[in-house]
Every structure is written in C-alpha cells, then in structure tokens.
C-alpha cells in the first residue's frame, strides 16, 4: 500500500478500505458555547412564532403557505442565517443551520421544504462558488428574504441521471452573454423565488459540459408554470420553469465554465444533510404525538402504551432519533471543520433519515389506529409529507449505489484497473459526486477503535469486527466482478446497508463515549440503553447483509423480475 502525502478526507471511504480514522469521529462534536447560546434563543423565538402563527393543517388544506409566515421567518432573520455577515446574513455554522432546519421541519414540512429550497440548495452555489461580486450582488437580498432562491437541475429526461440535462446556454459571441433555452421541472420555490441557480449545457472547446448560472425572474424569457399538486408538502411551491432565449450576462456564470456538475454535486452533498436534519424534526414531533396518544388511549381497560407491541414501536422511534442526531450532527461538524469529504456520510444520513421518518410516520398512524387515517388528525398528513424524502435530493437507490461505489473507490485505487473503471460509472451516476481521489493516510489510521470507554467494549468489538468484514466483502466482490461491479445492484445495496449501519454505530459509540467521559455512567444510563440497543440491532443486520453478499437468492429475484417485464406484470391466475 503506498504511503501518500495526500491526506484522506472521508471517514467512510477509509472504513471501506479497512482503516478507522478515529480522530474524524471522536470526540462527538460539541457546538461552540457562544453559538449554542444564540441557537437556543433562536429556537425559542422560532417556537413562539410558530405557536402563534403557523397552522400546518391549514397550510396542507389550502396548499399555500401564508405570505405572512414567510415574511415572519425573514423578519426573524432565519432566511439568511447561513449567509456570512459581510453579505447581510449571520454566518451560522452548518450545525446551527441544520438544527434550526430540524425545528422548522418539526413544525411544518411545507415550510421546511421552502426554507431548504431557499437556503440549503437555492443559494448554496453562490456561497460555495460565487465570486465576490456575485455574492455582493445577490446575497444581501436573499439574506433579508426580499428574494427567495431556488435550485433548478431536474428536467423531464434528467432525474437521477442529472448529467444528461438538455437545457442549453449558448454563448453569444457578440455580447459575451449566454442564451438560455430549455425547461426544468419539480422546482421547489418555482412560483415564489426570484433567484435561481440554473444548470445548463455549455460548450467548452468541442465538448458539451454543464455550467451553473444565476438566473432571476425578471429576465426576459423566464417563466414559471402552474403550481403542481402533490401528495405531500402541499404548501410548498413546486413548478416548472421555462427559459425561452433568456439572456444571461457572462458575469452570472457560477464557478468555472464547464464545472457545473461539480457545483451541483457539492450543493446537494450539503443539501442532503439538511434533509436528514429535517427528518429528525419530523420524527421527534411524531414521537411526541405517539407517546401522548398511547398513554391516553385505553383499550381492554389498559392504556395501549402498556402493550409491548406498542412499546416496541415507541422504542424504535427513540432509537432512530438518537442514532440520527448522533450521525447528522457529527457530519455537520465535519462540514464545519472544512476540507473534509463528507459526501458518503451525508448520503448515509439522508438514506437512514428518510427511511426512519417514513417508518415513524407509518407506525405513528398504526398507534393512532382508525383516527390516524382521518384527515382531521395530523397523522395522514405526516405520512404524506414524509414520503418525498425517499425520492428527492437523490433517490435512496441512487444514493445506495453511490455509497457503495464511492466507498469502494479507495479500494479500487488499490486494485488499479478496477479503480480506473470505477471512475466513469461514478461520474455517470447522476446526482453523485465529484471525485477527488484521495488516499488513505495509512500512517495514522488503524484497524482498531481505541481509547473508548470500557462500558462500550462489546459495541466497539462488533464495530471493529464488521468494519473488517466490510473490507473483506469489498475485496471479494471487486475481485469477482471487477468493472462489472457497477451492475451488481443487489450487492451494492448490501454493501451500502453495511456502511450505513457502521457509520451509525461509529456515531453512536462516539456520542456515548464522549458523554461517558464527561458525565459518568450514571447520568448517561438511559442513553446507554438506547445506544446499546441500536448497536445490537445494527451488527446483526450487518452480519445478515454480509452473509448475503455471498449466500443469496439474487439470481432468482433477477429472473422473476425479468419474467415479469416479459409478461408485463403478474400473469398467473388461480382460476384457469
């Protein structure tokens, strides 16, 4: 193994390669004291504002967020909290921003979508890649809420496969302007935002490459379509955007010409974490509702809370919340440290969080029973709102492929030829990433998770054992499938699932260890229960996924699906 100067920058990419970069996840990060204090006051103010002004049921029924609510959030300063002070915002960390986003999502999912469309992704490209001039021109109005922002990537023919967008920006050699033509669909804030980050194909030399542009509603030829009706997040404005010879000044190009795909991927890497944080807010709210209902609903002369099948559901909700908090805020802290590749980690958080909130919404409805199915109660709205998280900002299927393939990249590098082959499918994988090949700092990394509190010995042991198993599994599948690994969806899914559980375990162990060292066993006993219960579930699940990498009935499933395609569905009939 080569000993490189270039430092590895991803905990999970290292882990796939068999190394545990302890210092990236230990100790569990704690927010800067001063920022934490401001954050508490902001949350308090937000809760009060929401209690007085926000009716989530009404927003859902009217399919509209009242303008006063958005104006109120702007007035509070929330629409510019992640924008630096120089540009009229408040320069809060990713951790603080996501914590606020979590709170908003717990209040109303439509507002969270609007808020995230604006700040998590809409204006993010400006923050990450904008020139000083662009930042000065656009950010103050976006920070004050005078303008909302949107992110326009998706097209009818380009969903997960974002690289194949058809919108074009052709340079007008005379003026130097770009002439934008094409259309975008499913654009959050499409009907209400003034500023959009738009991705279009541009010519770079002889090659067609994607570039990012700042586009505003006042440009001639810009139009947004009618508001789409949706299953959930119905209050948010989702529309089509059309560009008919929209003239964009050259100074509106964001990032280098032809580097738009990298811009989009970086934005989505951080956007996905916001989404995960939002799911935590939703789960917390649903858990409160479920606990309250289970304690008060009596059947068989007993509060249903006492029945073990209900207790199982409630404990699952608590465990999911704890695991997600541990993972998401560990990852936001990685962003705040800077220079760290958190793309795999953020995809892991998104997948876990979106599935957890869906599971929770479903179980909350189950606990509520019949009334849960009635629109007079918030359960069915929560279920509808939760569903989109499995789809947008990278479907969970694409993200699982990404987690496994990007994770194996370090390894592929080691197996040279496979590594090379891995590069191209990865860049094809739509929403994915820009691949800076970074290598493992073997000198520091070890294969053990050292200096962890003795009370967590068993969990640490399992983590190390299955980290090794992931590494072994990767080596086996790469040796077996080589370049064809990209077509092995069954296998990729299992590797991704192993990675998700391992990152979750690492985050939980880190959080518990940090708490144990600071407060002692007695004060952390309830958290220990939660963490240990999770690690037990996680390692057994990893073990099952590991076994199924080699022992499975994948060929049967593949054949069944292909036969179904052939016969256009289910073609058996009992009455024949």
């Amino acid at each position: 193994m080569p000993n490189n100067e270039k430092e590895i920058s991803s905990f999970m990419k290292c882990l796939f390669a068999g190394s545990i970069e302890r210092e990236m996840v230990f100790p569990h990060p704690q927010m800067d004291k001063e920022e934490a204090e401001s954050l508490k006051l902001i949350l308090e103010s937000l809760r009060q504002f929401a209690a007085d002004n926000i009716d989530a049921g009404e927003i859902d029924r009217n399919q509209e967020i009242p303008a006063e609510v958005i104006a109120g959030l702007a007035e509070l300063g929330l629409l510019g909290m992640s924008i630096p002070e120089t540009y009229g915002g408040y320069g809060f960390s990713a951790t603080a921003y996501n914590r606020v986003f979590e709170e908003i999502a717990g209040i109303d999912a439509s507002i969270a979508t609007t808020f995230g469309g604006h700040q998590s992704i809409g204006l993010k490209a400006l923050l990450l890649f904008g020139t000083e001039e662009q930042k000065k021109r656009f950010l103050p109005k976006l920070a004050s809420g005078e303008w909302l922002a949107g992110f326009a990537l998706t097209e009818p023919g380009a969903g997960s496969d974002a690289a194949c967008i058809k919108t074009t920006a052709v340079k007008d050699e005379g003026s130097g302007d770009y002439i934008l033509n094409g259309n975008k669909i499913w654009i959050t804030n499409g009907g209400i935002a003034h500023y959009f980050t738009v991705f279009a194909k541009t010519m770079v030399g002889d090659a067609e490459k994607i570039s990012a542009f700042a586009v505003t509603r006042d440009m001639e030829g810009f139009a947004s379509g009618r508001k789409e009706e949706k299953l959930g997040i119905r209050g948010s404005s989702t529309t089509e955007l059309t560009f008919d010879n929209v003239r964009i000044p050259a100074e509106n190009l964001i990032g280098p010409l032809g580097k738009g795909f990298k811009v989009a991927m970086e934005v989505l890497n951080s956007g996905r974490l916001g989404l995960a944080a939002g799911c935590i807010g939703g789960i917390k709210r649903l858990t409160e509702m479920s606990v309250d209902y289970a304690k008060n609903r009596k059947q068989f002369n007993t509060p249903i809370a006492k029945f073990e099948m209900i207790e199982e559901k409630i404990s699952d909700m608590i465990i999911d919340t704890y695991v997600l908090e541990s993972m998401v805020y560990l990852t936001t802290a990685l962003i705040d440290r800077g220079d760290i590749d958190y793309s795999v980690e953020s995809a892991i958080c998104k997948v876990y969080a979106s599935e957890a909130v869906w599971r929770t919404a479903s179980e909350a409805m189950q606990i509520a029973g019949g009334i849960g199915y009635s629109p007079e109660y918030p359960y069915e709205r929560a279920l509808r709102d939760a569903r989109i998280n499995l789809i947008f900002e990278g479907t969970n299927e694409v993200l699982r492929s990404f987690i496994a393939l990007a994770g194996m990249q370090e390894h592929g590098e080691y197996l040279k030829e496979v590594g090379k082959a891995l590069q191209s499918p990865l860049s094809q994988l739509g929403v994915l990433t820009d691949f800076a090949f970074s290598r493992i700092r073997r000198t520091v990394a070890t294969e053990r998770l050292e200096d962890v509190d003795a009370g967590l010995r068993q969990e640490v042991g399992k983590f190390e054992e299955y980290a090794r198993e992931l590494n072994i599994a990767v080596e086996k599948v790469l040796t077996k499938h080589k370049k064809d690994i990209i077509n092995q969806g069954f296998i990729l899914e299992r590797l991704a699932n192993m990675a998700i559980d391992l990152y979750a375990m690492a985050a939980v162990i880190s959080r518990l260890d940090t708490a144990l060292k600071e407060y002692g066993k007695e004060k952390v006993s309830r958290e220990l229960q939660i963490g240990k219960a999770f690690c037990e579930i996680a390692w057994r699940r990893i073990r099952r996924n590991r076994r199924q990498v080699e022992h499975n009935s994948d060929p049967l499933h593949k054949s069944i699906a292909e036969n179904a395609y052939e016969s256009e569905g289910y073609d058996f009939d009992l009455i024949s």
């Binding site: 401001s38 006051l41 902001i42 308090e44 103010s45 009060q48 007035e75 300063g77 929330l78 408040y90």
Partner: protein, 262 residues
C-alpha cells in the same frame, strides 16, 4: 423615559412538578424555565413606550444563574441592559422580601416608570408589584391594559370585572402591574440576539443593594410554607331519592346550608 421592567423566571407552563421530600417545595433542578407571562407583556409595553417616546428600558430580575437565560431573551427583544440580583446563595418566596430587594435595586436607577407583571405564574400571589410601589413610595395601579403618555404623567386603561374598564391618570414616576394579553408580543430576531451579546447584565449582590443576609433570608420571612401538595382529586356524589318536589327541596337545602352557595 427610563423604564424598569421587573421580570421573574418561572417554570414552563404545564411542567410536571415533583414535590420535595419535606413537602415544602418542588424539585427545581428538573424543570425548564421561562419568562413569567405577564412580565413578558410588561416588557412589551415598556418597549413600545420607548419606541414611541424614546428613552431606555432596563430589565430587573432576581434569581440564580439560570435566570440569565431569560434576561438574554429580553435583551434580544430590545431591552437596553439588565440588572440581575443573583440569589444563588439565598432563596426567598416572600413578596415582602422580594419587593424589598427589588426596591433597593430600583432606587439606584431612579426610573420614570416601573412595570411589573400582574402576578407570577408559579406562586400566583400578585403582591410583589403593590408592595414594591409602597417601598418606593410610588403611585401604583394594576391590571393595566394600555398606557398612554399624558400631560406630565400617564393615562392607563385598567381591566375591571364583567367587561368594564377604568381609565386612571397617574403622575410620574409610577409603578404599574401589567395584565397578560394587553399587546401582541414581539419575537426575538437573530439580529436582536446577536446585538444582545454586547449588552450589559449587571450582577447585584446584597452588599451592592445595601442589605444584609438576615434581612432577606427565609428565616426572616413572614411567610411559611407548611405543606405543598398536588390538588387532591375528590369524588363525592350524592343521589337524592323521592319525588321531584322532595328532591328539589333537599337540593335547595344542601345548596344553602352545606355548599353555602346562597
């Protein structure tokens, strides 16, 4: 106009209270705290007066270190500075003693107007305001809904019972106890929260107030908590029998002689 607002930090409404083993108070360390509701309205009234007429709003609070969190909320909403009587080392629940402490701090500031909430949501005495006015020798009125500046003084609208209001004029300086719901409360903005970091919270000790510990200690209090308890649930139903006339007579007798509602 210089206005002092007295603010008490109280347990969050609907807190689950656990009573201490000696049955004289509740376990405070497990509680979450917030600004007393009517004090919030007092603060809002003060901020509005300041915005209209200029001047300064000073927040005065008493309690252990934790009250600083509530003070900061006030500073974030636009209060200029705060005084904090830190009673980490002594506790008092007696309105007389509390008013004495607050008065000592207020005297040093010579404000034009002192506002308190109508009553604290925890102990609910509603006495600290009036007693404080007596200590300060200020004219006082309570259940105030609106404040207007008038020639040389202020004109206030008070809420009486049965939907009646009363208009009262007072000279300044004066002390008013403010009713909840009298205004729309403002929210702390991030801008305000960031600005609050630079604002002063002056910590006051007993020595700063010129008081000795035995003057303010519970042992010196005229108020003793013998036993506190969660309201006991009682169920008592009596079913009258007989014809309607007899039942009516029995019921009237009970209401008159037992329940004493007539």
């Amino acid at each position: 106009m210089k206005i002092i607002v007295c603010m008490k930090q109280v347990p969050v409404q609907d807190s689950l209270l656990k009573i201490t083993d000696d049955n004289t108070w509740v376990h405070e360390d497990e509680l979450n705290w917030e600004i007393n509701e009517s004090d919030n309205y007092a603060m809002e009234a003060a901020l509005r007066l300041k915005e209209e007429h200029g001047g300064e709003v000073v927040l005065l609070s008493m309690g252990p270190d934790r009250v600083k969190e509530s003070i900061k909320q006030g500073l974030a909403k636009g209060v200029e500075r705060a005084l904090h009587i830190n009673n980490e080392d002594f506790t008092t629940r007696d309105p007389f003693i509390n008013a004495k402490l607050l008065a000592a701090a207020i005297k040093q500031e010579s404000p034009d107007l002192v506002l308190t909430g109508l009553q604290a949501d925890d102990t609910g005495f509603g006495q600290t305001g009036p007693i404080l006015a007596e200590y300060l020798g200020l004219p006082h009125t309570s259940i105030v809904m609106e404040i207007e500046k008038s020639n040389g003084g202020i004109k206030v609208k008070r809420e009486l019972e049965g939907g009646w209001f009363q208009s009262v004029e007072l000279p300044l300086p004066a002390l008013l106890s403010i009713q909840s719901g009298s205004n729309q409360l403002r929210y702390a903005t991030i801008k305000g929260i960031m600005m609050a970091k630079k604002k002063e919270i002056k910590s006051l000790t007993l020595a700063d107030l010129g008081l000795a510990e035995d003057e303010v200690d519970d042992s010196n209090s005229s108020l003793n908590f013998n036993r506190i308890f969660i309201p006991e649930k009682t169920k008592k139903a009596e079913i009258f029998e007989g014809d309607p006339k007899e039942i009516a007579a029995k019921l009237a007798d009970k209401l008159k002689n037992e329940a004493k509602v007539f």
